[in-house]
Amino acid sequence: MAALINVPAKAKRGDVIEIRTLTSHIMETGFRHTADGKLVPRDIITSFTCRYNGTEIFRADLFPAIAANPYLSFFTVAKESGKFEFEWSGDNGYSSTASASITVE
């Protein structure tokens, strides 16, 4: 499943808007063992960034204690029409991107 993004399609200039993201990922901690005693290797997302028309407005580092399918919600000020770009990266070269547009009036 691709990432889920919720950005308001329209906003007034200066409005505080909420952005929600959810991406599917197992977030394997690296602390668990299989039934036969083998360590399950760590496989997590380590970093998330959001850019608004190219400028980074939000960044988060993720750690093993974060549950599967990380859900992040944060706020920003609607300044201009354009594009939000989201990027998740992590273990084993994991990388995933998504984007959403906004019209600011």
Partner: protein, 423 residues
């Protein structure tokens, strides 16, 4: 101005303390006590009965505003048009005949210090021990847009009765090819597998009457009780008629707009033809009035005696209590009711009650003649109940004869528990 009040309170306090110290010996001598039970469902009615049957000298009063109780188990079959609601109705005549005082009023105030309950008609009754079995109420703040008026357009049908019939009527009125959405809250909530049973039985109704229609499940959970059994049955019986959007697929409902019948989730809006919105829940309102509910909205209890952790001499059973691993079901409420009755009789006699071992069973019918079940054993561990060994769930791979047998067993279970509680 304050001083005399304080002094008076202090004097009153001493008087109350003296009375409560004297109470156990008086009770012991008379081998009687005044018990009030608030709420006449599977918990309250069973508890009142168990108290009176164990000790006929007890004065047991059951306060319940409804003359007729509408049972929730099997009400999903009423919604799907497979059962008449009259079969779900039970009265309190048998309880009254057993010398339980049945007061057909709503309890509106509880004074734990005075040990009294006041009913809507203004009558105040005193108790030695109070049992609250108020079931659930809805958490209005937890689902913006959903209030009593909204429930007339987007029925919850999570308290059986008029709401059950309203949802049925909406299904019957829906055009062929429509979508029925079911919004499911996170746990803890009443009867955790029941929303999935409902999705199944609504799919059965649609398959029979409006086969191009769909069921859309918007779920605030990723995993649910007996999930593999349900999902297998859905595939087997209904193909792709039921679509479920789980929590991690954005299924959690955050608000509703009854004017446009819109369900808003974290990541999308849905405008189904029929919207069955099951809102987040908490203990019945009277528990909060009594001061027995905490910030979670539920009632923390001592799992040995069911006595509230927050107010003395008040016991909470059934859906309203914070039970931990024990589900909020009719079977669990009934088991708790009996254990609570026995603990109260022990406490009145000055004995230390033993930790109960409770059994709960839950049947799900996903189509006529297709049922499965989960039976669990529960024991107190710390402040809650934990599931212990000995539980069983129906096998995932089983012949249809077993499903048919379990569907018949489910009906017998209903006959037994309702006879035990009301009959």
């Amino acid at each position: 101005m304050n001083a005399p009040v304080t002094r008076r309170n202090a004097v009153l306090g001493i008087a109350v303390a003296a009375t409560s110290l004297a109470l156990p010996s008086i009770l012991h001598a008379q081998s009687a006590g005044r018990i009030i039970v608030v709420g006449g469902g599977f918990g309250g009615a069973a508890c009142a009965r168990a108290l009176k049957r164990t000790d006929a000298k007890l004065q047991v009063t059951l306060i319940e505003p409804n003359q007729l109780f509408t049972a929730c188990p099997f009400s999903n079959e009423v919604i799907a048009g497979l059962r008449d609601i009259e079969v779900q109705h039970f009265g309190y005549d048998r309880l009254a005949a057993e010398d339980i005082t049945v007061v057909a009023q709503a309890a509106t105030r509880i004074e734990p210090q005075q040990r009294s309950v006041t009913t809507a008609d203004g009558v105040t009754l005193g108790y030695d021990r109070l049992v609250l079995s108020p079931g659930i109420d809805f958490h209005a703040e937890a689902l913006p847009g959903y209030d009593d008026a909204a429930s007339e357009k987007m029925p919850h049908a999570w308290k059986a009765g008029a709401q059950t019939l309203l949802l049925r009527k909406q299904l019957e009125a829906m055009a062929e090819g429509g979508t029925v959405a079911i919004a499911i809250p996170a746990n803890p909530s009443r009867c955790p597998p029941a929303p999935y049973e409902r999705a199944s039985l609504i799919a059965h109704y649609l398959k029979t009457k409006k086969p191009r229609s769909k069921v859309l499940v918007l779920d605030a959970k990723d995993n649910f009780s007996q999930q593999r059994l349900f999902e297998q049955a859905w595939k087997e019986l209904y193909g792709d008629m039921i679509e479920r959007i789980s929590l991690s697929q954005g299924g959690r409902v955050t608000s509703v707009d009854p004017a446009t019948r819109t369900i808003i989730t974290e990541f999308g809006n849905y405008t189904p033809d029929v919207a069955n919105v099951i809102p987040p829940q908490r203990a019945g309102r009277i528990a909060e009035i009594a001061g027995a509910a905490d910030h979670t909205g539920w009632c923390p209890i001592d799992p040995v005696t069911f006595e509230s952790k927050l107010v003395p001499n008040i016991h909470v059973i059934g859906d309203a209590c914070l039970g931990g691993g024990i589900p909020k079901s009719a079977a669990a409420a009934s088991a708790q009711a009996k254990a609570c009755a026995s603990a109260i009789i022990g406490l009145l006699a000055g004995r230390t009650p033993e930790a109960p071992r409770l059994t709960g069973v839950c049947y799900n019918t996903v189509a006529p003649g297709y049922g499965f079940s989960l039976a669990g054993n529960y024991q107190s561990r710390g402040d809650i109940f934990a599931e212990v060994e000995g539980g069983t769930t129906s096998p995932v791979d089983a012949p249809r004869e077993l499903r048919a047998r379990e569907a018949a067993e489910a009906e017998r279970w209903f006959q037994t528990i309702t006879a035990d509680t009301f009959g």
